[in-house]
Symmetry: C2
Subunit: 79 residues, 2 copies
């Protein structure tokens, strides 16, 4: 099995891209969870799933929304 080295560029093939998306989204969320748990880092992510309407949030809808709101509010205060 010959495996191509990954280059950082848009994957033209839509089928491969979708498979890669599924795998990488999982890996990405795992990294987020590890950073959060192992290192006690508060973090939130917003992923606009290109195959569904609803965006995916980490750590969950409520926590991420709270963090985003708090962040935006702090920015407003600084103005």
């Amino acid at each position: 099995m010959v495996r191509k080295k990954v280059k950082l560029a848009f994957m033209e093939n839509s089928a491969e891209r979708k498979v890669s998306y599924r795998k990488r989204r999982k890996g990405f969320l795992t990294k987020a969870r590890e950073l959060n748990t192992l290192c006690d880092v508060e973090l939130a992510t917003l992923v606009n799933n290109p195959y569904h309407n609803e965006p995916e949030l980490f750590p969950n809808h409520e926590a991420a929304t709270g963090m985003f709101t708090k962040f935006i509010d702090l920015l407003e205060e600084k103005k």
Copy 2:
């Protein structure tokens, strides 16, 4: 060299935790960039750096702020 297997739990040792934080934050942002570029996925992250006051944003301050604001606004509209 004997390496402990990583368990998904808070790292008690603060020096080790800080080193791990630096390494994992870098890895996490790399994964974010890969998911974004390879799969054409729009995503934003907010990482509250425990060692500094300013949170770190991906892909950058402006884009992430824009995505968060848009997301919050959409939530408000749905109410």
